[in-house]
């Protein structure tokens, strides 16, 4: 039985039907990415998968139990960091650790915080507030916060969408490293608008058009690099298949023709 299941999920906003009969089965320890263009409904999908939003039809199940609110032993990384601006990096991560491990004493909690901040390379910047950190660093804190709770399920909502190409590549590599270090491996569900990113990180890639495409497995050996993506036959084939599905879906076209909305990042200064 699949560890993480979305069954018959549907959602409409008024007359607009965003999701219809979505079925997705993720095995334990798998990394699945859902690729779609903006407007395809993937944000809605991950909100429903994480329990932050309730579907109109169908349900979400984690280890057999229905998901109606954000599950315990799960963590989420958002596109716009979602760090509390009045807390330092260390305190932000600690807030998560406290909640996840209330039985630990203060020293244990702080050790955990330091451990993960150092893994993402922010040991020195632990005392800084988000307003003093760059976009890439903030996202690192968000990632550290997610891993520090040692989640069984990890949800990633276009985590690198707001970053420049170079930072994006660096953080992708770090994410691969972090996931590899975990034992047992977390089950990961990510949404992205980049097919390349999906192939780089995932075990299986699914495209979201008007419906969910069949999953395309990616069996390339780790560690994967962007260069390998250019050369490896399998990567090129997977990319072609996913691209074709998205093009055929037609929603890609109508989404592209919409004027682009500016990405609004959280104001890090309290208003």
């Amino acid at each position: 039985m699949a560890y993480f299941k979305l069954q018959g999920v549907g959602k409409s906003f008024g007359v607009r039907r965003v999701l219809h009969e979505v079925n997705l089965f993720v095995e334990e320890g798998e990394f699945v990415t859902i690729v779609g263009t903006s407007g395809s409904g993937k944000t809605t999908l991950i909100k429903i998968a994480s329990g932050l939003m309730n579907p109109d039809t169908g349900g979400v199940f984690l280890a057999g139990l229905p998901v109606t609110s954000f599950p315990a032993r799960a963590a989420m990384v958002f596109q716009n960091y979602s760090l509390l601006p009045w807390l330092s990096a260390k305190e932000n991560v600690r807030l998560a650790v406290e909640s996840a491990f209330p039985q630990w004493n203060r020293t244990q909690q702080l050790d955990q915080v330091t451990k993960y901040l150092e893994i993402v390379g922010l040991g020195a910047a632990a005392g800084k507030r988000p307003g003093q950190l760059s976009g890439g660093m903030r996202q690192r804190v968000a990632i550290a916060r997610a891993f520090a709770v040692e989640p069984a399920l990890m949800l990633l909502d276009e985590p690198f969408g707001a970053l420049d190409a170079l930072t994006r590549a660096t953080l992708q590599a770090e994410l691969i490293k972090l996931i590899g270090q975990q034992s047992p491996r977390a089950t990961v569900l990510m949404i992205s608008n980049s097919v390349d990113e999906a192939i780089l990180l995932s075990d299986r890639v699914v495209a979201l058009g008007t419906k969910l495409s069949p999953a395309v497995p990616v069996t390339l050996a780790h560690p994967r690099t962007h260069k390998a993506l250019q050369h490896e036959e399998e990567a090129v084939k997977v990319k072609a298949r996913i691209t074709e599905f998205l093009l055929a879906a037609g929603t890609a076209k109508s989404a592209e023709c919409q004027p682009v909305e500016p990405r609004i990042l959280a104001q890090v200064v309290p208003e």
């Binding site: 932050l52 954000f70 799960a74 716009n80 979602s82 807030l95 406290e98 909640s99 996840a100 309290p270």
Partner: protein, 255 residues
């Protein structure tokens, strides 16, 4: 730097013009209105010896202002002590806010002069009545701004509370309160302004020692120059208070 000096000189010109108009009015339009010079002569003592106490109602301007400020502080704190939690509650609960919104809108515009007699009935003595009046009049900006602050919490922070599965207490202290604080503070600043207004009115009505009390007493004693002294004092103190609050508010924003 040059701009700052220029602005300062300009404001001096503005003040001089007002004094000029005052002098003109007192010379040509109203014999009762003391001229600036007369005002100064008769108020010298109070200003130059601000902390002197010569009699219950004959004290230096510094002491008078102090009495008023102490009362304001008490009433203001009382007001925000009720107002802030009320604002938080109404902001967080749709139900409660729908219940009480009309009530707030009706109570808000009521002048202190209307509340004071009620205060006197309830508390019998002028001091608690004054505090009650200050609290009831000044709390509304705090309530409303706090309410607004709670409703304006960015979705991102709400998401954080959800995905970290924070306990309600943690959610309140680590997310809601810090996020609402700047709004609350704006409310406090406005409330303080109103509290200062109210104290003068309430002192005038009850005759207690303080800037307002002194003002009314001097009016009844026909020493009009002291009225003007009080007016100026009230203005300066009010301005100073607002400036101080502004500085604190600015500190909060950077944080």
């Amino acid at each position: 730097m040059v701009a700052a000096i220029k602005n300062f000189l300009l404001s001096l010109v503005g003040i001089a013009l007002v004094i000029g108009v005052w002098a003109a009015v007192s010379t040509w339009f109203s014999a009762d209105l003391p001229s600036p010079i007369k005002t100064w002569k008769e108020s010298e003592l109070y200003v130059l010896q601000p902390w002197e106490k010569r009699g219950e109602m004959d004290q230096g301007i510094g002491l008078m202002a102090m009495y008023s400020l102490i009362r304001v502080a008490k009433g203001f704190l009382l007001g925000i002590l009720f107002g802030a939690p009320l604002g938080l509650l109404l902001g967080a609960s749709q139900l409660l806010s729908k219940m009480f919104d009309p009530v707030i809108q009706v109570l808000r515009p009521i002048s202190p002069l209307a509340w004071l007699p009620l205060g006197l009935i309830l508390f019998r003595q002028s001091e608690p009545a004054a505090l009650f009046t200050i609290a009831v009049c000044s709390m509304w900006p705090t309530v409303i701004n706090t309410m607004h602050g709670v409703r304006s919490i960015p979705q991102d922070y709400v998401n954080v509370a959800k995905v970290l599965r924070l306990s309600p207490w943690k959610r309140f202290t680590k997310v809601l309160l810090p996020s609402t604080l700047p709004y609350m503070f704006t409310g406090f600043r406005l409330s303080l302004g109103i509290a200062w207004l109210v104290i003068v009115a309430s002192e005038m009505l009850t005759g207690t020692p303080g800037v307002g009390g002194f003002l009314w007493q001097e009016y009844n004693s026909l020493v009009y120059s002291h009225i003007l002294l009080c007016i100026l004092t009230i203005g300066v103190v009010g301005f100073t208070l607002d400036r101080l609050m502004g500085l604190i508010e600015a500190k909060l924003r950077i944080a």
